[in-house]
């Protein structure tokens, strides 16, 4: 085969170009830490990474919202526990009134204590987090329980508020005041009646109210159990979602991250190859029969 200078030049250029491209790619990998910087570097990995990034982005949002929800559920939980304690103390007051040895003064004191319990429950039922009333249904920016001359009215509604915890789970996150306090027997009416019964020293009525208080307490406990379950569910997701994100992140890394050891050694090898290639070319180019003929 006849080897002409332009053949030699062409081959040399082609080789040097290939090497330069490899060097460039290796340098890119080392400086960016990624094997995939353009879609065409690896279309499958790039598209997968892009889709996975959006899943991670959505999960991040769920994690942040669930954290807020945890706060709200914890406040709800403690408000409900406070109410249970208040109802319990009302029961103690009723039991004292039933002991039979009470003087009118003592009954008056007991009745005033019942008012105190009512105030505690009223306050707990208007609990808010960041300006949002927890027990007002979807009328969440209006104070739900208002004391108008001793009568408590409910300004909220019975609508549920939901929240999406992850891609598939949606739960109801609120307990409405309607459920909790306004159904029969209503806690506020029961306490008013209890107070009247204590003042009137009507043992039968006081016993009946004790039964009502049990019903109220059962209702609060049932609601508290729902909140407790939700708390557990959210906490469990708060462990699962970050783990899920880490796994996705690892997957993206395996798809697109450069193996630095490999990239750096590839860069060095290519660099050497270029130098050797340049050296040998400069020697070959001096080989010509014309130099040897005299």
């Amino acid at each position: 085969m006849r080897l002409t200078p332009s053949t030699q030049n062409r081959n040399f250029l082609q080789n040097i170009n290939d090497l330069q491209n490899r060097l460039n790619k290796a340098q890119d990998e080392v400086s960016s830490g990624k094997t995939v910087t353009r879609l065409s570097d690896n279309p499958f990995a790039a598209a997968q990474a892009s889709k996975l990034m959006s899943v991670i982005g959505a999960n991040d949002q769920f994690i942040a919202l669930n954290e807020q929800l945890l706060g709200r559920l914890e406040v709800t939980d403690s408000a409900l526990q406070g109410m249970t304690r208040s109802v319990d103390s009302a029961r103690v007051l009723a039991a004292q009134a039933l002991s039979g040895t009470t003087t009118p003064e003592a009954r008056l004191a007991l009745a005033q204590n019942v008012d105190g319990v009512k105030a505690q429950i009223l306050s707990a039922s208007n609990t808010q987090v960041n300006g949002v009333f927890l027990f007002g249904g979807t009328q969440s920016n209006t104070q739900p329980f208002v004391d108008a001359g001793g009568t408590i009215t409910y300004n909220g509604n019975d609508e549920a508020i939901h929240q999406r915890l992850d891609r598939s789970v949606v739960i109801q996150t609120n307990i409405t005041g309607q459920d909790l306090f306004m159904g029969s027997p209503s806690v506020f009416t029961t306490l008013d009646d209890l107070k009247a019964a204590i003042l009137a020293n009507d043992a039968g009525a006081i016993r009946a109210r004790l039964g009502d208080l049990d019903a109220v307490s059962d209702r609060i406990n049932a609601a508290n159990a729902v909140v407790g379950n939700n708390l557990q569910l959210v906490q469990q997701l708060q462990r699962a979602l970050p783990e899920n994100n880490e796994a996705l992140q690892r997957h993206i890394s395996s798809l697109t991250d450069a193996n630095l050891v490999e990239s750096i050694s590839d860069m060095n090898l290519t660099n050497q190859a270029i130098q050797v290639s340049l050296n040998s070319q400069s020697q070959i180019q001096h080989l010509s029969l014309l130099d040897f003929l005299r």
């Binding site: 002409t4 879609l39 279309p43 790039a46 982005g57 959505a58 919202l65 249904g137």
Partner: protein, 465 residues
């Protein structure tokens, strides 16, 4: 009858033949780096022998012609491969730009989609919050802007491919003009029987350049003129006449159609730079635009459908069923027209987060946020962000296959050009040896003339006295 003077004539012929051969050799050396140059050889032949009683006696040497080493099949093959190189270079170049538009980090469409639906998730935590509502508006404005931006950049890439079509047609016309002119000159020069080597070299350079721009077939007629036609059969050059292509602007978006005479040949050009440009302009980029538009239209219509069914935060709450985004007039152009309903943008309370009309109701916000996880695209198999991922995958594969085809055909081209050099190129070592050969032959012929001269002198000297 043989005599000393005809012996001198043999010497003269030898001198001039070797000198001609030396000149051809030096011309080869001079053109060692000339593109398209084909190595030439002086063809030496003995002159007719003279009959004598003792048999035919040789009369010396002559140069019958100067021949160029040309391998037509190889050159045709190179032309074919060059067409592929031109095509893939053009495609890879333009798709490289598309890739940056829809690429991993630059475009932000993917991130925009995620942020938009996340903002509705955030709003569902407290539907009464005005700051969270502004968060939704800002994410929606950002989503609209990324779609409009991507659509605009895609349109830019397409229109730059379109103007390159016009330039390439001009380039083709220059080349076919050159080939036609050379055809006429070659036919004229070769009437006498000699090869017009230099003109032929120029013509193969022009043919090769033309191959790079579009898919052509050509054949050489007996008179040496080459006829060129596109692969689909439209004549470009016959003998000394070139049929110029015309680039006609049609339609409102200034798309250029290519005509040969009265025929529109735009769709028949498949290869070469022009084929690549047309492929990018008419098939690849429009397909990406359509996919982006479909995605945009389906986000707009689905969000609107849910949003219009909800109630807002006005006092009293109104459920006037307003759209969240400006509805797309058609799927085509949906991405370029992507924008937030000005009513929503102007008043954060008009976002319909609820369904019951109560201020804290978040049912609609949850429903809109949930759209992100519904597989509604590609026949119900892809979510919005998965559909965008698929578009990225498609652009990536198209770009990758164009550039890998390009490197394969480049490697093949190097091999073919090396083979052509082996057949037609100038090797300096070989020419150096030829220099020696002809120089020595010239010296020997001169020596021979010297001998004949001495013989003549001897004769005159002896017989003259």
């Amino acid at each position: 009858m043989w005599d000393l003077f005809s012996s001198l004539e043999i010497g003269r012929r030898a001198l001039s033949a070797q000198q001609a051969a030396l000149q051809v050799t030096s011309n080869n050396i001079a053109n060692v780096n000339t593109p398209g140059y084909h190595r030439q050889r002086a063809v030496l032949e003995p002159t007719p022998a003279e009959p004598t009683p003792i048999g035919p006696l040789g009369t010396g040497v002559t140069v019958t012609k100067i021949e160029a080493a040309r391998d037509r099949f190889l050159e045709y093959r190179i032309g074919q491969v060059t067409q592929g190189v031109g095509r893939d270079e053009a495609i890879a170049g333009y798709l490289g730009q598309v890739e940056t538009v829809l690429g991993t980090s630059e475009s932000g469409v993917q991130e925009g989609i995620t942020r938009f639906f996340n903002s509705f998730s955030a709003l569902s935590a407290d539907a009464t919050s005005i700051p969270l509502r502004y968060g939704v508006i800002s994410a929606a404005a950002n989503l609209s802007a990324t779609f409009r931006n991507a659509a605009g950049l895609l349109a830019d890439v397409r229109s730059s491919a379109n103007s390159a079509v016009t330039d390439t047609v001009r380039e083709i016309n220059t080349l076919t003009g050159t080939i036609a002119k050379l055809n006429a000159q070659i036919a004229g020069a070769e009437l006498g029987g000699a090869d017009a080597n230099t003109l032929r070299d120029q013509r193969s350079v022009a043919l090769n350049e033309l191959s790079k721009t579009l898919d052509i077939h050509y054949y050489e007629a007996d008179d040496g003129a080459i006829s060129v036609a596109t692969a689909a059969g439209a004549t470009l050059v016959t003998a000394g006449f070139a049929q110029a292509l015309t680039a006609t602007t049609t339609g409102p978006d200034g798309i250029v159609q290519i005509q040969a005479g009265l025929n529109d040949i735009t769709n028949s050009i498949r290869d070469g730079k022009l084929g690549g440009l047309l492929e990018a302009r008419d098939r690849l980029i429009p397909a990406y635009q359509q996919q982006l538009d479909t995605l945009a239209e389906s986000i707009i219509s689905q969000v609107n459908a849910v949003h219009a069914g909800g109630s807002d935060l006005q006092i009293p709450p109104s459920s006037t069923a307003i759209d969240f985004f400006v509805p797309a007039a058609s799927v085509t152009g949906a991405a370029a027209a992507f924008s937030l309903n000005p009513t929503v943008a102007g008043d954060a309370r008009s976002i319909a987060a609820g369904q019951s009309g109560s201020p804290g109701d978040n049912a609609n916000a949850i429903a809109i946020a949930g759209l992100a996880f519904q597989k509604t695209l590609a026949g119900g198999t892809e979510t919005f962000s998965e559909a965008f991922g698929s578009l990225q995958f498609r652009v990536g594969t198209d770009t990758q296959s164009a550039s890998s085809r390009l490197s394969t055909s480049n490697a093949l081209l190097v091999q073919l050009e090396n083979s052509r050099d082996a057949a037609s190129g100038v090797s300096l070592d070989e020419e150096a040896i030829d220099l020696l050969r002809f120089q020595r032959a010239y010296q020997a012929a001169a020596r021979y003339i010297n001998v004949v001269d001495q013989l003549t002198e001897e004769l005159i000297h002896t017989l003259g006295n």
